[in-house]
Amino acid sequence: MSRHISFLTVLLLASAFTNAQTTGGQSDDVKALLQRIDQLEQRVAELEAGKNNSTAHLPDGKAQDAQTPTAQAVEERLSTQMHDEHMQNAKDVEGHFPSMQLRGFGDVDFSATDEKGTTSGFTLGQFVLHIASPLSKKVAYFGELSFTAQPTSYTADVERSIIRYSYNDHFKLSFGRYHTPINYWNTAFHHGLWLQTTISRPEMIRFGGRFLPVHFLGMLTEGNIPSGSLGLGYEIGLGNGRAGTISRAGDNGDVNSNRAWVGRIFARPTAVRDLQIGGAFYRDKITPIPALTGTPSFGEWISSAQIAWTHETPELISEFANVHHRNNLTGTIYNSQAYYIQLAYRLPWEARKWKPYYRFEYTHVPASEPLFSAPAFEVTDLVGSTAGVRFDITDFAAFKWEYRHTKHRPTDPPVNGVFVQTAFTF
């Protein structure tokens, strides 16, 4: 047995060494070719300069053969030819409209927990397609489609569909379905699990969750605020808000005639690379379907704060949100809070492929909260820890191993679980 393991180890090391050598050799070849192109271009420039000089030295008024074009004619033809080539190259470089670019994200997962009634096993994660297509220099379309495995089939969903008009860096107007800019995670990683360090999203913003509105349908203005090294930016949106099923946006129409709005401001200071600090507000009126006893509606006011330093050495992401609900029937007010803090560090060894991480999460919902305690809209308390490590197999694929310890209600037993994921983009 040990001989087999030794043999496999040697085989793996040998293949890795060969691969490294091949990659290094190819890289050197590319460098040499690029240098050769530069040398040839310089030579062409010198020859062209020499030709112009010799033309200039031609004796004036010398009779030329009728079949031989004049030096001026040759120069004109050459310059026209070169101009045409330049224009053609410039058109190629500038791009064509529309020019759709497609990128995919996928993941395969394994999970095993000690929660009663669950089984361990593999799952096929979401298959996600992302589309980006400039329609002109100022207008672009972005789309995100997901295919999720269900017990008997797959469900397809339009996660994002955005058409955006950019006037300048300070004003961009778009319409469509977004991930609500109430939260950093929601707008940084979307459905691309390969993009995020961990296997799972924080509970407060998980897909299908109800604590924060994950999706937003309507219009959004965004841009930079002239602020020098502070790097301020803003997003202001107006939309349908939560649907009757509060985990979804009102895709086929609003559930009431009250629009939701969201505003976010953030800073990306130039002094600290990869740092983003921000805060957001969200206002909506919730009309739950199925209706609660007495058919109340709720005024919702969400405030949040975020800090994200995605520097890798270290990576720090932390967010807080307060969800304020006002029962419009009784006037009673309820506040629920959630936060998480995630730390990761890209280790310097082995080509920086390893990245251990830890995340602590907390959610508190008052027991008397009528909306979040109703079975159809339930959000429970949570205290949880996640520890894991990410290994980047290539530039575009990663393995992640994760251990989670979570506890929901005081009466519930804690749940421990082991999770493995391979996530990739293509």
Binding site: A90, G95, R103, A132, A140, T270
Partner: protein, 161 residues
């Protein structure tokens, strides 16, 4: 003793001067110039401005003139200098950065990769909003060289080399 010391001092100064000239010459040859279209009104950029432009955080020179970033392809000296000094990223991190940026709908495509300085010069000379980095030794008429932090390539304090 004094005479010997004087001879050694003269020798040292001569050697330092020679080394200085050589260093300055080598630096000029290795400096990477930032070039824009001749009609672009920008004359000077800070390194922070340059980083914002190349990272796609600033996408317009003015409202009717979008920025088009042209970058030498992987394996070239110009790209290495830009990734090291402007992006502060490795080649892998650069690729991942643009996947992430496009996924966030903050850009539709990464900077256009070009195979030679000649192509970069052609692009900049033909496209009003374009910006590129090429070796200072390859500079030719038809493009405008932008000062970086107030310095031109070859000047002391020029940051791109």
């Amino acid at each position: 003793m004094t005479r010997t010391a004087t001879i050694w001092l003269r020798f040292a100064i001569a050697a330092m001067a020679l080394a200085g000239v050589t260093l300055s010459f080598a630096q000029t040859a290795q400096d990477i110039a930032v070039i824009v279209h001749p009609k672009n009104t920008v004359d000077n950029l800070t390194m922070a401005d340059l980083a914002k432009i190349f990272r796609g955080e600033r996408q317009y020179w003015r409202s009717n003139l979008p920025v088009l970033v042209l970058l030498r392809t992987s394996g070239s000296h110009e790209r290495e200098v830009v990734l090291r000094n402007v992006f502060h990223m490795s080649e892998s991190e650069y690729k991942q950065y643009w996947v992430s940026k496009i996924m966030r709908a903050e850009a539709t495509s990464p900077p256009t990769d070009l195979y030679s300085n000649g192509m970069a010069k052609e692009g900049v000379a033909s496209i009003p909003g374009s910006i590129a980095c090429i070796s200072a030794a390859d500079l030719r008429p038809g493009v405008k060289v932008v000062r970086i932090n107030g310095h031109l390539p070859g000047e002391p304090g020029y940051p791109l080399h």
